[in-house]
Symmetry: C2
């Protein structure tokens, strides 16, 4: 059975553009004599559409888009994702749906059963699950009975997933109902290490039911989320027999052997999936490029401090957009070291980008003078440190406004976690490129990029120097924070693993350090609420997938909660 | 039957503090010989706790808190809201629960059936609905069978609510199962006009089942949400026989007649619920006061432009906190009118607040000079306008940092909708007090406050003047925007009612104006993503209850979508 996997990159809400793209993929699949072409989840509207789904006109437009694709379908079957109205007047008004298109019309409609409503997902806000009868998700494709499922439907595997959110198991039900081949349309966002887990999970499902699986994932960046593609075909023994490219659009056409057991070493293109640091790199490049493009920008501006974070951000921007689309601005101040400007200049030269030096000393003095009457008798404190960051933020925004560049903000996950950043200062920007990358991973990424590059990229001194915000004399990050390897280890346990104070201390971390870090994280929520959207690469990013109250007073670190370390 | 309604104001996450408060209410109820005291939804942890619920330690602490209250319960029954673990290993890990406490122990546990997952609500993210058997929510209170429900459980009334989200109707089921009195614990946030609707809805429910209803609502501000209290008792004929105060803590003790039909004109305190403009005023005061208090601030700072928005914000702050807790800063610039500074000064004098004048001309010139080399040959544009707003933002943040004031941001809903505001400029601040109040309502509120005041408050010229940002010569808002009555009417239909372009035009609005306004709203999403939390008073506020993608391209205004106005 010859199936095409249409791994496309839709723009959220761009129904006309997404339909045009789908028709192009359809024509290419037909040209390669595919019997069926399969598109990702909600392919007509792009994932995640969020509250666009609440607009009745948007749903109408998406249904019209589906119809317009159906009219182009001849001599091939197409399985296309869209939003369908719930025919039952009771319940949420929509289904997350796929339609089978054939001979110019919509043959049948099929609904997602399991609706993720955790982390970045909000599907119960919009969708009603499909009826408790998986027969409705069986389709006849030539002589073969296909079992259709959508993304999460494939993830309810109690052997591999430590929690079970759903009582229903649509894949088991499809098997029992007589499916001979499983087809899953997905919009599964990237998290480092997730594709390796997907392969394990899907392979386990396939082996359990002895049927081949077609997995078609969306690709592309949509706001915070990056979809890695990595669409794949498994034979009935659980072997991957074809794999699409990661982090780019792809159409692969695969001859899928039916039944259980191994049939072919491969039967279609077999691309290598990137892993680890390389996968983070490729994810960030795609997320950055798509955010710039889908927001209609042509170029970006980055403030270059001479430090590692801004250097990495600029290098990623050049990799994503080209060096003629990136502008660097160094803004030395009273406490900037000589090496800061030198390193920024070297970086700009290495990258071959437009570079400006805009000193802030006059502005710094003007603020001090302007505020002197009101601040008379008050010693300098964090106010004056923040002013320097805010001057730089305003200057960068002026570059953004004047030339139409998108300002990229350069904060890393570690500093955003503990609030080691200035609101309306270094937090200014339309996209936070590395805000979900912990500092220890920042160093790895920078070294990796330098290793991959044939010419000098990020100055070694930017990588090697002791991190400093340079907002007061002889300042270093470690004046205020524990060493980054300790900070990142605590951060991982607290934010990604939701571990409590006692649990983290019991793993051998210093009690006071744990309490201090967790207090800093909790108390910085107000800053993060106003931060730019940031590209998600870990299992729990700040932003949409972590929804914390600001005015709260959960005092989790008092000894009464039974910490082992309490005296 | 004598029941106490404990309308308390919890702080989210402050389990120890909330439990202490609950015990105080319990003791007061006992002193008035109540047989039962009823607390609001999730009263131990405060509503909405958001992702604090994902922390296992937080759930443990809340269970320990419940136990600590139970141990204090003697000679009275208490019904207390908390989060319970789901005993079924499959499904979401928690229930939104109430416990019946008696004689020092937890007698029984009862779970919410209908979980709102729309607008600002995310309950399916955390909770599993209670089992499909309302008998589990019956409790024996003395000789009377009480039917327990939680907030949304009472809202599934197809006669009054135009959509039905749920198949189950727990209130009908409780009635059928033999309940003699309905007890509903709520955390129902304020929206202007909502309490009038609640009275109608609850009264209709009560009449249908012929049973009295006890409705206990949370009060207080928690981030964006303001809970109005307004707890009430209905007799079996649907008459309100007792009503707690709105917008403040209250404990009312009511002798509730059993059975259907009218029994008593009143049987407990009957407070007047404020409506319309007065209710918005009281909501904003409470929301502002609680945000300041619960975040640990003592005072606030407001930039005073001489215009109506900042004047209203400052006047609200004085009403909420007292004039010794509010600081006003006027920052006249090159394009400020003489009346701007004069009006700001008059306002500060009227309010009796600390007042500073910090001119921005030197800073404005310093930015121009600093940027001159990079901007050579470029004509002035919005860049220079934004710079002035950003200078003011940085100065106000310096006041905030130096003196520990919370900065209040003063933007109204109309300008935030269309992006007529500067990111990192006038959008700076920790709380957006009037960001959900449309400009036409701003004027009403200002006039109403002046009418209520015995002494001059907001200068009449601030109310009467033509709105202007004063960022370029002779600028007025109406250079860029339609008149505010038209803008607000379109905004209401598009944002609150989710109407489409064609539908709004068909109501008689000018086609080009509708398209222009909607484009402005859609394209300003990136600004709103970084805005301060804003107090919600309408049915759809920007922020957590309206989740829009940024990098999207929904082109809803092209003629192909069948607008009647298309040529």
């Amino acid at each position: 059975m010859r199936i095409a996997l249409a791994q496309m990159n839709p723009t959220v809400g761009d129904i006309a553009g997404n339909c045009r793209k789908a028709i192009e993929f359809l024509d290419r699949a037909k040209a390669q004599a595919a019997q069926v072409v399969v598109f990702p989840e909600l392919s007509i509207i792009g994932y995640p559409p969020k509250d666009l789904l609440l607009k009745p006109q948007f749903i109408d437009d998406n249904l019209r888009g589906l119809q317009s694709i159906a009219e182009r379908v001849r001599d091939i079957d197409a399985i296309v994702g869209y939003a369908e109205r719930n025919a039952d007047p009771v319940g949420r008004p929509l289904h997350n749906a796929v339609a089978l298109l054939r001979d110019g019309r919509i043959v049948s409609r099929h609904f997602k059963t399991l609706l993720p409503t955790y982390d970045v997902f909000d599907e119960s806000r919009y969708f009603e699950p499909g009826p408790d009868n998986e027969k409705q998700n069986l389709v006849k494709l030539g002589d073969v009975v296909g079992g259709l499922s959508i993304c999460e439907d494939l993830w309810n595997d109690e052997r591999l997933i430590p929690y079970r959110l759903y009582h229903r198991n649509p894949i088991a039900d499809l098997h029992d109902a007589g499916a001979q081949i499983m087809i899953n349309t997905s919009a599964s966002p990237f998290v480092v290490g997730k594709h390796e887990f997907r392969l394990k999970l899907f392979s386990s499902q396939v082996r359990q039911y002895g049927q081949p699986l077609i997995y078609v994932n969306q690709v592309g960046g949509n706001d915070e989320l990056i979809f890695d593609g990595n669409s794949a075909v498994f034979d009935g023994a659980g072997n991957v027999i074809a794999q699409a490219r990661d982090f780019e659009e792809d159409l692969i056409v695969v001859d899928v052997p039916l039944g259980g057991g191994s049939r072919a070493a491969t039967s279609g293109p077999m691309n290598r999936a990137s892993e680890g640091i390389e996968s983070i790199y490729r994810a960030l490049i795609l997320g950055l490029r798509d955010y710039v493009r889908k927001c209609g920008f042509k170029s970006v501006v980055v403030g270059l401090s001479g430090g590692i974070d801004s250097a990495l951000t600029a290098a990623l921007a050049v990799a994503a957009l080209g060096n003629d689309k990136v502008v660097g601005v160094a803004m030395p101040g009273r406490f900037s070291s000589d090496h800061s400007l030198a390193d920024a200049r070297t970086l700009a030269a290495n990258l071959g980008i437009e570079f400006h030096v805009v000193p802030i000393n006059d502005l710094h003095a003007a603020y001090e003078q302007t505020l002197a009457p009101a601040f008379a008798g008050k010693p300098p404190d964090v106010t004056e440190e923040n002013l320097q960051a805010r001057i730089r933020g305003a200057l960068l925004m002026a570059f953004s406004n004047k030339f139409g560049h998108l300002l990229l903000t350069t904060g890393n996950k570690s500093e955003i976690a503990v609030g080691y950043c200035t609101l309306y200062g270094d937090m200014c920007g339309g996209l936070a490129v590395i805000s979900d990358v912990p500092k220890t991973t920042i160093w790895q990424l920078a070294r990796w990029m330098n290793q991959q590059s044939s010419k000098p990229l990020i100055p070694q001194s930017s990588i090697d120097k002791i991190p400093s915000a340079e907002l007061r004399p002889n300042q270093t990050d470690q004046d205020s924070l524990p060493p980054y390897d300790v900070l990142d280890a605590i951060l991982y346990r607290y934010v990604e693993e939701e571990k409590g104070v006692a649990e983290i201390i019991s793993e051998g971390f210093d009690r006071d350090t744990v309490i201090r870090v967790i207090r800093l994280i909790d108390r910085s929520e107000y800053k993060r609420r106003q931060s730019a959207p940031g590209l998600k690469v870990t299992s729990r990013a700040f932003g949409f997938g972590r929804r914390m109250p600001i005015a709260q007073n959960y005092e989790q670190v008092s000894p009464k909660h039974g910490e082992p370390g309490a005296k």
